[in-house]
Symmetry: none
DNA sequence: GCACTGCACG
DNA sequence: CGTGCAGTGC
């Protein structure tokens, strides 16, 4: 039985607005740790991962893992019936094919109940490769949205170049070329709000639950992250373990083609290859890593990139952006990275701006880009394989 | 070499929004006086003329005349990448086939550079007949836009009747007829802000550079109008010289079919006939008038209509609307005029409302309507031949 | 290939 | 609420 009480329906509404264009149906996987959703987009090029932590709810109870197969269009409609500040309670029986949503006005004088049919969705939930990234850029989410929207007018893809200079977005189109350079704000380097100098790690990614160790300084560290990061706080915030394990889900992991860490299939950059749980062979690849959670770093297969001293990534905070009021651009990198991506997807990702004032881009050469928006209760992350060649 | 720095990208953005639906490609003709664009619409029924004065730029330099052949769709896209208040710099080498646009945030923390391919456009730039108009109506641009949009729902064309009574827009549609009468505001007559009674002329048209004589009382008189109008200030503001010469452009003038002044080809009301510069014969027609600028009145070919004592038209002001805060409808006329126009085009013209709070309609029987929006740095004008008969 | 309708964004 | 863009149908 699931019962999850959310203080503001707005969060769910925004999440669905962000995801519904990318995916039509998906499982909301509920377990005692919270609710996660993972899905590939319809053309299997991008991957979305949403996490809502149990302790972010006003009340949360989930006796045993339940996958709620939802048509996102339907859920969006139902959520439109909620006011932004309604208290929203989700309920489902263990065996249910129905999800109940209750909207309760804060002033108690209105209660609305909706019931939505659930569906059986083939869980092509996936194991997300645990990757270390060579570059992490944190910037205002609105700015990111604006840039990719702008460049999408000119061409199909954007080359993102991260260097000491800053981050540059370049698009070559038929009729026009464009390039936008954002320099790292000077203050970004010294803004050691969380202790170590520029290492504030300032990411919205609060690292997946099993890999990070809660960082006390972090506001959201309290949110119950139980994963440990590789380096001490000194290093650049490189995500040590981006591989999201298929927690509680056994055997359903899918291999991301570009997740270079486990298998060096960098050539697959063009598209993720989700393996259904039924595809035992593929699943195995990831499964071995699945169960270990406590000790961080597991699964860091691409050690070469982690050469730099990883600082104690103070990730762990879903609300990196929430707590970090720094307005500018922060870049943390071990080496320069240049990658090319489809703008169509980035534009889509950038719809999540409503969820966070900041966005974090994590990149390594030949590895899928991670675009991460963190908020108090969790995060939404997108993975997008780079284009190969430089088309 | 051209380098033009505009303090607000918004101006260019609005200009392109206004023009791009009418014309797909056009030359931006740059010379030391500024930048002009003249083009017929795709079906050669309407004509647009845009002027941006050199002194309206924060910085302007143009060593020698350069025509920049631009695809307006592409330029629109590139301009969408600018924020309204970005400082926008246009650059082009003399021989260039590339236009560079740089957007600089006012706060300096972002610099975006775009390069757009230019094209060779057959300069069917045209000489715009210098017409005296029998009636001039200045009204809020939003009101004009609303009226033509409304009437376009009912029918294809509108009959515009200007009389002492006011200005009336009449549309007869299949299912319904409509007519809207705007009376001249009483105050318009006495609002002798500039000296003579209602003659404030309040037009957005600041008359092309060489034809007007600056009128001291006019706020925008300073804008450098050097033409004199026929009558003394007492008369109605009739535009004495609407013929836009092809400044700096030699031989490229085209004759507007309906420009009745030179040749009395009123029968051509249906469509403009642009003559390429190659068409030497046509060009000559207008060229003779081209060079005289200082002494007003030149080129007043249709004296018959100027029978009334034309008041000193205080045109010359590009920012007629800018300086004229008068909110109502002002009519200045020598004789009643009734003309019928295609609403489709008027609706299109009215997209320029973003550029000016006021619009000026200039009409004479059987002559193309001039719809003029003035702003601080210049103007945008549209010419539309009347429908013949009363269909 | 063009036009119309629906969806999404500002 | 209005405008623009994309997808579908004719």
């Amino acid at each position: 039985m699931l019962e999850a009480k959310l203080n503001e329906a707005a969060l769910l509404k925004r999440l669905l607005d962000a995801v519904k264009e990318l995916v039509t149906d998906a499982n909301f996987d509920c377990n005692e740790e919270g609710i996660t959703l993972q899905a590939m987009d319809n053309s299997h090029v991008a991957l979305v991962a949403v996490k809502l932590k149990a302790d972010g709810f006003q009340k949360y109870r989930c006796d045993r893992p339940i996958p709620l197969g939802v048509n996102l269009g339907s859920l969006t409609k139902v959520l439109k019936c909620a006011k932004d500040d309604d208290i929203c309670t989700l309920k489902a029986a263990d065996d249910a094919d129905i999800l109940s949503l209750t909207y309760q006005a804060k002033n108690q004088d209105r209660i609305a109940e909706y019931e939505m049919k659930l569906m059986d969705i083939d869980a092509d939930t996936l194991g997300i490769p645990d990757t270390e990234y060579d570059a992490s850029v944190t910037m205002p989410s609105g700015e990111f949205a604006r840039i990719v929207r702008d460049l999408s007018l000119l061409g199909e893809s954007v080359r993102i170049e991260v260097s000491k200079e800053g981050i540059r977005f370049v698009s070559d189109g038929e009729a026009a070329n464009g390039n936008i350079l954002l320099k790292q704000n000077a203050e970004a380097a010294k803004k050691g709000k969380k202790g170590s100098s520029s290492k504030r790690k300032g990411s919205d990614d609060e690292d997946d639950e099993d890999e990070e160790k809660p960082d006390p300084e972090d506001e959201e560290g309290a949110a119950g992250s139980d994963e440990e990061v590789s380096g001490g706080e000194g290093g650049k915030k490189k995500v040590k373990k981006e591989k999201v394990k298929k927690e509680e889900k056994d055997g359903e992991d899918v291999e991301m083609a570009n997740g270079a860490d486990e298998a060096d299939e960098d050539e697959d950059a063009g598209e993720f290859k989700p393996s259904k749980k039924e595809a035992g062979s593929d699943a195995e690849e990831e499964d071995d890593d699945e169960e270990e959670g406590g000790s961080g770093k597991k699964r860091k297969k691409a050690p070469g990139k982690s050469g730099k001293p990883a600082k104690k990534a103070k990730k762990g905070e879903a609300d990196a952006d929430a707590d970090d009021d720094f307005e500018g651009v922060r870049i943390e990198m071990n080496q320069a990275v240049t990658l090319t991506f489809s703008l169509k997807y980035l534009v889509n990702f950038s719809k999540s701006s409503a969820l966070s004032k900041k966005v974090q881009l994590m990149m390594s050469n030949d590895v899928p880009l991670l675009v991460s928006y963190g908020f108090n209760q969790g995060h939404i992350r997108y993975y997008l394989a780079p284009k190969i060649g430089d088309d």
